[in-house]
Symmetry: C2
Subunit: 467 residues, 2 copies
């Protein structure tokens, strides 16, 4: 049955690609209110598509102050079959700096078998694969092997601030046995990868002030604290010279990596030199860990943006009175987001020193790291698909990024999840010239039908026992 | 004679103020090409005014690639009288951040006896005083006590890059016995101050790169150098915790402050607490020196602007690959600008560490610090004016900022200079809400006629012997 669907989808590939490109053309940047029209366009496109393929109860789940999610269900498989939530998101990262893009970020361009555009890899490509897979089953089989609930979020790139509210308002509607995420995962490419977790995240922004106003550096230079010097000194205290986080209590609750976890992490081979080379960067980080461990099993504190003083054309002889920084912290199992955030805040306050005032701007808390249990049927089903399609035992890996939904659905709805996206690590998500491989689109349209079939073999009760 | 002129100018004060406001309304920001029209407007206003008051040979001295200077001469005093170059500048600092201005920077607004506008204090106010003083002499005395050459520069706020070329092209035209600068000095206010020098300056900008492109902080965080962390670490190495410059060889050539120099510096009393309070800042700097010494007799390295990563609305989970900084160094007697600049560059290169590439952007060299010799007749004449008008022995002070022209005219034309501007230190030059006091405008229109009369008593030869 899944073979017929895969064959059908392969025949539809031009039409599917065209729909993906249409979706990409909406500049759905959730972080910036200037892109409200692009958000709306992407939402309406998805509502129309879900209705067209035969989903029921298609609608927006409104967020009181944020971006609504797109929802649609198909429950024709009946109560004995599992109900699978399919997760994707229609929002994308900001595209700036625009001048570094070879072609405009919201005009998808196909070059060398790749779709270059903001959101192509993260995550409109994989979201399209999921929708088109269900479309294929409904079109030629008249039904799916499992019950399906699409949940396509609009705030993934801003940390899902409305998600809790949306869930609270639609707890019954969203009930399901498990969730498959089109975001995250390593289903694409030659090495089969089972992606069983991700890092969490918390964020904060702060401003630093050394005087009530900027001053002429000729008049005050040498006797006045410079906010940029103080910002530099403060940021420097966050890490040691090898990049290890130097914030007290930041790692509270984190257990040392067990041999089993380290072995699991090593199951996915990595050419560290080639990895660094691909970024044009030199090796860096805590030498006690492999690069994969550093990027998936170790927490971080990162300054994502820092600015102050005169940054325009030419020069300005100013002693700046204020400076600003945006930080995110990646979290690992055991860390509580609110506690990690508080630890960083306390560190900054403790190290700011005399004559330096800090003002914080943050949403308390964040998203815990997520791990899918070793015995969960999602693991077995996915491993079977990968084994069959790729011909080898899948490696077990974790995502270094964050898919807040995995944690939130587990905590709020008791639902486990597995990331089964087709994006690859080298596709410059969140950077200029993001792309998605046409080969990944085709591969996804083979793998997803297999996965839904495999999940259809698991009795609904098995999920409930495992969660 | 000077009393008659001062009385005449006092009667003209409404018309003079109107002309000053007109000059201020031209947004003559030399650092940013977007303000070319404002520069042109200010130039044309000054050309018209110099012609109207009876100056001869009024014209632009063109800079090959930069902003021309405005020139005009009056040589009716004859060869036995000294020829005095009067210096001012028509360019101003950028006005951003605009949102911190109470009223728009280029719409001068009078509140509480102050003119609020960009350029009011630095230095259109004092430049207007100089022009109107000569206008007064020519209008009611039919001549000046000295020969006058106006030199009104258009690149003071960008470090006078074309000045050497302009001088080279007009060496004879610019010959004079001494120069009085409307920029710098402390002629305004209750305490008479003789301003006999200024710090020099040199500048550089650099970019720091840790990878060939920005990356997703979820994917690389923990194993990739973050350009902002590296920028912070590098900037922090420039100073110790008390703000002392920690750059090897930066102070090459600087002699320890002699007791005489320190006593001279102390001749101008300073309430250090009140000074810090006026900036809303806490005390800071090398405790071995007074605040006045720190800001006039000690060199600095200052970051005037620093930026990198995502600085827009909301957040972006990026590990930035590049960061940028603009620096200026204030120099004291004995420092060679090129050597000080090279020392900072060498320091940055030495401390950048592995995996960090720097790219510098700078104009080699800069401006030396300037000191007017103790026996120069400019000192005696100015002291006499201040003694007479203010009723006490003037304090001797140095400017912490830089008036490149003083050094350049000394080096290129063998001409000494004295700063006799009416701006006060608290007028927020280079910062939002810059202002100039109406009382300083009135005072300047009394002091400048006195000064020109006093200089008229000195035989031209006395200047030549002293220089």
């Amino acid at each position: 049955m899944s073979e017929r669907v895969a064959t059908y989808l392969a025949g539809e590939k031009d039409a599917i690609l065209e729909r993906l490109l249409t979706l990409i053309r909406f500049p759905s940047v959730s972080t910036d209110p200037a892109f409200a029209e692009g958000m709306k366009g992407a939402r309406e496109f998805l509502l129309d598509r879900l209705r067209a393929i035969g989903m029921q109860d298609v609608r927006l789940l409104e967020a009181p102050t944020g971006q609504p999610a797109v929802y649609g269900a198909w429950t024709g498989a009946g109560p004995d079959k599992p109900t699978i939530m399919v997760y994707g998101h229609y929002d994308v990262q900001p595209a700036d700096p625009y001048e570094l893009w070879t072609t405009p970020p919201f005009e998808p361009t196909i070059r060398d078998g790749r779709i270059y555009a903001r959101g192509a890899s993260d995550v409109k490509g994989s979201t399209t694969i999921a929708i088109e897979t269900v479309a294929g089953f409904l079109a030629i089989e008249g039904g799916c092997p499992v019950n399906i609930k699409f949940f396509l979020e609009g705030e993934e790139e801003v940390g899902s601030p409305s998600l809790i509210d949306i869930i609270a308002a639609h707890r019954d509607l969203l009930a399901a046995d498990a969730m498959i995420s089109a975001d995250g995962g390593g289903a694409a490419g030659k090495v089969p990868v089972l992606n069983i977790g991700c890092r969490g995240i918390t964020a904060l922004q702060f401003s630093l002030r050394t005087a009530s106003k900027d001053a002429h550096s000729g008049k005050v230079g040498g006797a006045m604290r410079n906010a940029l010097h103080e910002m530099a000194r403060l940021v420097t205290t966050l890490h040691d010279e090898q990049g290890r986080v130097a914030v007290a209590d930041f790692e509270s609750g984190v257990a040392p990596l067990s041999n089993a976890v380290r072995a699991e992490s090593a199951s996915l081979p990595m050419d560290e030199s080639a990895w660094y080379e691909s970024f044009g960067a030199a090796p860096f980080g805590d030498p006690a860990y492999t690069v994969r461990e550093r990027t998936t099993l170790r927490p971080t504190v990162e300054v994502n943006g820092m600015w102050g003083g005169y940054t325009g054309q030419g020069g300005k002889t100013v002693t700046p009175a204020e400076a600003h920084a945006k930080l995110t912290m990646r979290l690992v199992p055991g860390q509580e987001p609110a506690a990690a955030q508080a630890a960083v805040r306390a560190h900054l306050e403790a190290h700011a020193g005399p004559g330096v005032a800090l003002e914080f701007n943050y949403k308390p808390g964040g998203t815990r790291a997520y791990t899918l249990g070793a015995e969960h049927p999602l693991r077995a089903a996915t491993a079977a698909v990968l084994r069959r399609e790729k011909g080898g035992e899948p490696a077990v890996a974790r995502l270094g990024g964050t898919v807040p939904i995995t944690t939130i659905f587990q905590e709020e709805l008791g639902m486990d999840s597995l990331m089964f996206g087709l994006a690859s690590a080298d596709e410059d998500a969140h950077a200029p010239n993001e792309f998605f491989r046409l080969s990944s689109l085709e591969e996804g349209l083979r793998l997803w039908p297999l996965l839904l079939s495999e999940l259809g073999k698991v009795p609904a009760g098995a999920f409930r026992d495992a969660s």
